[in-house]
Amino acid sequence: MDIATFISRFIPRKLWVPGFLLVLLIVLATLPSYAGSNRILFLSATTLMYIALAVSWAMFSGTTGYMSLAVAAFFGIGIYTTAILRPLVPLGVVFTAAGIVSFLIALLVGLVTLRLKGIYFAIFTFGLVVLIGQLAVYYDIHVLGVKGHPVAPTTYPIMYYCMLGLAVATVLVVYLIRRSRLGLALLSIGGNEEAAAHMGVNTTMVKVLSFAISAIFMGIAGAIFGARQSFIDPGATFSVGYSFSPVLMAVFGGMGQLYGPVIGAAIFSLLDYWLSGRFPNYYALIFGVILVLVILYMPGGLVGLMPKLRNGLGGVIAKLRKGNGAGQHANT
């Protein structure tokens, strides 16, 4: 008896997914004990970070269709919060503060821009990265009188466990939101905002709230990432690249399902690691080309390909069966 038939015979079907997730979680939780090198640990932590970023981005932008290009802004706010608070308070407080600050700024941005047409929102978030970066540089030079912040970096296992906790929390919260009234309201806004408003959905409140919630995870991700650095320079912290990667990952994975961005982020972080080591001069270019091609040819992402793949395979299998059973009718 092979393992597939064993599983299908002794484990009820509805336990497959939870069982798989449990095994995955145990493997991930024990990773530092057998990872061997810090490099693997850092790579895994980065992968988990991108999962959190892509999933939280897709929660808002994927469902509503409001393109937020501000992931880097909230991520940067998290890093900068670490730079300011790390010498003063314990790590837990730093992460909480990063989440709260990101939430509040997102709330403010959302309240001002989300009442308007979608394109204004995209415009504003696009420049938000530069705006907040400049303000941070200004605050550094003119108020604090410093150029960058040296910080005491945490260890790799701490970073890893924090990112693992964050990724699990993000996926869990987004899973719950998708099943809640809020999730339904978000989907209805994506379908037809006017109709949703007429059905009694408070569209502005729903958009602003979910945008701000998604910013919490981005801020905390930045704070954990920043805590591993030994020197934080606000000029280099706010880079549009951090907005680009999660968007690319979510679009590649597909935003129709929760697991789409997770798969996209996992594949792309590993690809990023491999390509940046191998072709350091070309990898940003390659990713740009991939994003354009994915939007052009795979608008539903990997998740969108699944039903097609299944139909295709199903068709092939059905044909084979038909061919075996009634060979003489194959031509009719």
Partner: protein, 295 residues
């Protein structure tokens, strides 16, 4: 402060003229082509680097073509790039999109990807160093207590002239009429016998052409780098929204306003220029989201 004011204001107008041309280019791409081209800054960067390359030379190839003449190279080259991009990438996005809103979202993301493609190709070609060239017309002109640069005055004048020529083109020619019709209602314009895919691609090409020329003008008086595009793109977006989507005169008025505000803020505190733009943008979104001359 007061005695410096005329100089600051004139400088603001000089900056604003080129900014207006950049915004005008973006306006034609979004107003007609419906592509919110956030990769706009990369076309500007390409224009600047083409001028630099034909003037200074590339590797063993000698340059020597005057920046003023290079406008006739950078403009058409970028027109071809823009036209081909729209005919291939954006047209197939447009025909596949279930709704105009979906097309706007997808083309925005595609343009986002283009930023990384164009920027990194440019870095591969020009190695990612900040550059500038010495130009014979780049001499100081003292006026009103401040020293201006003659190159900047030339760039300003050319930007204004090109903007006016484009305005006349859109308002007085047959093709311009087709462009205005396509901007109002692409489907109906198509029914009236306008080759809509062609007109939209032409508009995107014109936007890229103007961006390339603006980049060439910028290179005459400021240093250039492969990552210069983002700042100009954001400036152009704010000017376009300020002036009103789809309005050519609006882009010019917006350009001068942003140029003057930027110049004043730079005089007081250079680090706060971008925050000042954003403050203006925020007020605008709250008070008059359709812009000064928008419908």
């Amino acid at each position: 402060m007061i005695e410096a004011l005329p100089g600051v204001l004139i400088n603001g107008c000089l900056v604003g003229g080129v900014l207006a041309l950049i915004a005008l280019a973006l306006n034609i791409q979004y107003g007609v082509g419906r592509v919110f081209n956030i990769a706009h800054g990369e076309f500007i960067m390409l224009g600047a680097f083409i001028t630099y390359t034909v003037y200074v030379g590339y590797g063993a190839v000698a340059g020597g073509i005057d920046p003023l003449i290079s406008l006739a190279i950078s403009g058409p080259l970028l027109f071809i790039v823009g036209f081909v991009l729209y005919r291939t990438l954006f047209t197939s996005l447009r025909t596949r999109a279930p709704s105009p809103a979906a097309f706007e979202g997808n083309s925005l993301l595609a343009a986002f990807g283009l930023i990384f493609v164009i920027q990194n190709v440019a870095i591969l070609i020009w190695t990612g160093r900040t550059r500038a060239y010495n130009w014979e017309y780049d001499f100081p002109v003292p006026f009103a207590g401040t020293v201006f640069r003659f190159s900047q005055i030339i760039a300003f004048a050319l930007a204004i002239v090109i903007g006016i020529v484009f305005y006349i083109f859109v308002n007085r020619t047959r093709l311009g009429k087709a462009i205005r019709a396509a901007a109002q209602d692409p489907a109906t314009a198509g029914l009236m016998g306008i080759n809509i895919n062609m007109v939209l691609a032409l508009c995107f090409g014109f936007g890229a052409l103007l961006a390339g020329i603006a980049g060439s003008l910028l290179s005459m008086y400021s240093s250039i780098s492969e990552v210069m595009g983002l700042g100009y793109a954001i400036g152009a977006i704010i000017v376009m929204v300020l002036g009103g989507l789809g309005s050519i005169p609006g882009s010019f008025i917006g350009g001068f306003i942003i140029g003057i505000i930027g110049s004043i803020v730079t005089y007081v505190e250079p680090a706060l220029v971008v925050p000042a733009y954003y403050a203006l943008f925020l007020i605008l979104l709250l008070v008059r989201p359709q812009g000064l001359l928008g419908k």
